[in-house]
């Protein structure tokens, strides 16, 4: 039985006396016949980072949309903000007056504009002043960034910034906008809705430093994430939603990771025991030689038949470039790919030739590089195999049947080949793309952040699929900054630092703390440069 939130749980020390920033009770929301939220209670104390956990479809986003005034809840819900009763539903934009601020995964920045223009976009949009004093604005922006402890050029164009700086900018903007509306002795609520999924580990650390700064001075934070490590690191308490109900609110420090996992999915995952045996045994199936791209330099490695080889490192280490270079998807200065007895020069390689050599790529950006979101699931799943169904007179019914069968095999929900791809959850989208590529029977599968934005249940299913394919002889390269994931599926991990392979972890070394430590070492340049050539 899901327990109601324990609102009597002590607030984090130092803020015990003040009223909670947000206290929600009895919140329900019905869509058609289904209850998306069912009597949810949530209390966010002053100066607290409060985690909101739950699988996709557990009601997290509905809850956030109620706070944003996007959804009207069922009657009977109660909301108190800084101790004052607030009437539900909230009017659109009312969240601003209440001191709520939202940063979503897409950050809501305008890429073509400068940092300064983005920072001041709210003010500029409503300002009645005829003239903008850009010089003064720039100075003020510099001072703002300094106050938060980082350095960002106000004149830089946002689309040219690293992902981490963009996330920091979005958060600073949200906090600054909040401060304009919140009274001096009161706190706002900063809602971070999976802001870290596209960030490398190091970026997450910088983001957390900012979050700590913000909670110390201005606001409480509601932190939505799939990443339990991150949640455990940054939050004071967590509330877990399952099937629209609060499954519990606990002090983060008192909960172990496996307890949290159990709360979220209602079953225990055995992530450690599933790691595959130690050393690579099969023959070399894929070899990269002298790779030189934008960041990577002189990278050589071999991957064996049936092996899952992890590639990792911190931001800028170049590990995430490798899958794209080996697929001919990004410009490559030099290097070659050896596969299936052939040697392909990488500077001239096109994705088409890579495919012909039985290489497949599952890119990190599903919406742009991986799928056509506006077409159906079947259209996306069958794109690679059109030629099998009479290309001059497509057997459309047969294709739909095959697609439906694939959705069964890969446990995609809903099991509707005609559903629009964009309407699927992240986990189901990724399963469709796996189905798309695996039915072509690739010998090598290149992955980049394969479980980004994927809920924990689907993540396990994807791991199982990958292990099964490897067991059947596929060679899998997995470039990821998710050390848990690498530890769970990889036989061997290459850690990149400054564009080179800094070290190789095998067997028992493939463990997340060890990987994290090596990634940091590699970036610090402390690790010796070892080359993994002919194994």
């Amino acid at each position: 039985m899901p327990a109601q939130a324990d609102t009597t749980t002590a607030a984090p020390s130092g803020a015990a006396a003040a009223a909670p920033v947000v206290a929600l009770r009895g919140l329900s929301k019905r869509f058609g016949g289904a209850l998306a939220l069912d009597g949810v209670a949530l209390t966010v104390e002053q100066g607290e980072v409060h985690g909101l956990l739950g699988e996709n479809g557990s009601g997290k986003s509905t809850l956030i949309k109620v706070l944003a005034g996007f959804h009207a809840p069922e009657p009977g819900a109660e909301l108190r903000v800084n101790g004052r009763e607030v009437k539900l539903p909230l009017a659109p934009r009312q969240f601003r007056e209440l001191g709520f601020s939202f940063v979503h995964q897409d950050l809501g920045l305008v890429g073509d504009l400068t940092v300064l223009e983005n920072l001041r976009i709210g003010t500029l949009a409503t300002s009645r002043s005829m003239r903008i004093n850009w010089a003064a604005e720039r100075r003020a922006a510099r001072a703002t960034f300094e106050r938060y402890g980082f350095d960002l050029d106000p004149s830089a164009v946002v689309s040219e910034l690293p992902e981490t700086d963009r996330a920091l900018l979005a958060i600073v903007r949200a906090v600054e906008e909040m401060r304009e509306t919140v009274g001096h002795d009161e706190r706002g609520l900063l809602v971070l809705d999976e802001p870290t999924v596209f960030l490398p580990r190091e970026g997450v650390q910088r983001l957390f430093a900012l979050v700590r700064e913000v909670t110390a001075k201005h606001a409480s934070v509601l932190f939505v994430s799939h990443d339990l490590d991150e949640v455990r690191e940054i939050t004071d308490r967590v509330t877990v939603l399952r099937d629209g109900r609060v499954h519990g609110t606990v002090e983060t420090a008192s909960a172990t990771e496996s307890q949290l996992v159990e709360m979220i999915i209602g079953r225990t995952l055995d992530t450690t025991a599933q790691s595959a045996p130690a050393a690579p045994s099969g023959p070399v199936a894929l070899a990269a030689r002298n790779l030189r791209g934008r960041t990577v330099r002189d990278v050589d490695f071999d991957a064996h038949r049936g092996e899952i080889l992890g590639l990792t490192g911190i931001i800028g280490s170049g590990f995430d470039e490798v899958p794209y270079l080996l697929f001919g998807a990004r410009p490559c200065e030099q290097g070659e790919l050896r596969i299936g007895g052939r040697s392909l020069p990488l500077p001239a390689l096109t994705p088409r030739e890579a495919l012909a050599a039985k290489v497949a790529l599952l890119p990190a950006d599903r919406a742009v590089d991986g799928s056509v979101p506006t077409l159906t699931v079947a259209d996306n799943a069958m794109l690679q195999v059109l030629d099998r169904y009479r290309p001059m007179a497509l057997r459309t019914r047969k294709m739909r049947e095959v697609a439906a069968g694939l959705l069964d095999d890969y446990d995609v929900r809903p099991r509707d080949p005609d559903a629009e791809y964009a309407s699927l959850s992240g986990g189901n989208q990724q399963k469709v793309l796996l189905a798309k590529w695996l039915q072509t029977g690739p010998e090598a599968l290149l992955l980049h952040e394969p479980t980004q934005g994927v809920d924990i249940g689907a993540r396990e299913q994807i791991f199982a699929l990958l292990r099964a394919e490897a067991a059947k002889g596929m060679t899998i390269l997995c470039a990821s900054s998710d050390h848990d994931q690498l530890a769970a599926i990889c036989d061997r991990v290459l850690v990149f630092g400054r564009g080179r392979i800094a070290c190789e972890l095998t067997g028992a070394e493939v463990e997340k703390h060890r990987i994290a430590e090596q990634a940091l070492n590699a970036s610090a340049g402390a690790a010796s440069l070892t080359r993994d050539s002919e194994v």
Partner: protein, 320 residues
């Protein structure tokens, strides 16, 4: 198919029928006659053909604003070669079609090889081609095309409808089949919807976009030949008036039959919906400027409708 989807699919057909009913009631003696039906079907088949050609670049996500100029050039080349220089009809037609292929190929080269925006490239090439037309024709109307062409385009009839209508119909069938039931058609659609995923899925994105522009040029030239057949000559400007109606019909057609996709039957219905409306209004004695009002309004309306369709779909997702 849900009721709403069905309504969406066939709303344009309904509108077309409504227009027919209204004008038949208003003008039973002139509008609701076999002769008028035959006239409507035959007289605007040139528009149908040029619009069908336009579907291909629109499907791959490119504009081709040069189709009307290519149509004019093709007619003019045919008229000059056949009417003035005494070339036999077939070689003259071949030369006219070759002009369309060449301009399509040039458009494609600029778009694919140089990576330029197709909107700007074809805006420029269209104007450039109009310059060529004025130059080679001395800005005059050229007549004297062999009457054989007119026989095969206009004068020969099946069920009282000129042959040109059937050419358009055949082309519509070819495009419908090609876009729906061939791997090539699916690939063109993927290229239009997601360049990046198309490339990473091994599609020859550049070749497909280029091919679509060449095909649009060729079909526009074909429309030019048919247009020359309907008039028996060529003038250096009137072909331009096809540009806006072609876009209006293509976008309006994309709201019907397969909503959200540029498709052949939607286009077919859209062309004849527009033409029926205009013919009816003209029979009522409305001035000829109504044509511009109608086509211009239809283009904006079509784009507005497709936006509403998209927003509805997005709204459903939010609720899910």
């Amino acid at each position: 198919m849900s009721a709403r989807a069905a309504v969406q699919r066939y709303a344009l057909v309904g509108a077309w029928i409504a227009v027919i009913v209204v004008f038949s009631l208003l003008k039973p003696d002139t509008f609701a006659t076999t002769a008028n039906v035959q006239n409507i079907l035959g007289s605007q088949a040139v528009l149908l053909v040029v619009t069908l050609g336009l579907l291909l670049p629109l499907t791959t996500g490119d504009f081709d604003l040069s189709v009307a100029s290519v149509l004019t050039l093709s007619g003019m080349v045919l008229a000059l070669l056949n009417g003035e220089h005494g070339w036999p009809l077939l070689p003259a037609i071949a030369a006219a079609l070759a002009c369309g292929l060449a301009i399509g190929a040039l458009n494609g080269a600029c778009v694919v090889l140089l990576g330029l925006d197709s909107f700007i490239v074809t805006l420029g090439s269209g104007t450039f081609v109009m310059g060529i037309v004025a130059w080679i024709s001395g800005s005059r109307t050229v007549t004297g095309i062999s009457p054989e062409l007119s026989d095969w385009v206009i004068n020969n009839r099946i069920f009282g409808v000129s042959m040109i209508f059937y050419y358009g119909l055949v082309l519509a069938v070819v495009l419908w089949y090609g876009l729906t039931y061939t791997a090539l058609g699916r690939r063109l659609l993927i290229v239009g919807r997601g360049r990046s995923v198309a490339k990473l899925s091994g599609l020859r994105v550049g070749a497909l976009r280029w091919g679509a522009l060449v095909a649009a040029g060729f079909v526009a030239a074909l429309a030019g030949v048919l247009y020359a057949g309907t008039t028996g000559g060529a003038d250096p400007s009137s072909g331009n008036s096809f540009l806006l109606p072609a876009f209006a019909a293509a976008y309006l057609g994309a709201t019907a039959v397969s909503p959200g996709r540029f498709n052949a039957w939607g286009t077919f219905i859209a062309v004849y919906f527009l033409v029926t409306g205009i013919t009816g209004l003209q029979l009522l004695g409305v001035d000829s400027f109504v044509q511009q009002l109608f086509y211009g309004g239809a283009l904006v309306l079509a784009v507005a409708l497709s936006q509403i369709v998209r927003r509805r779909a997005a709204g459903r997702e939010v609720a899910a």
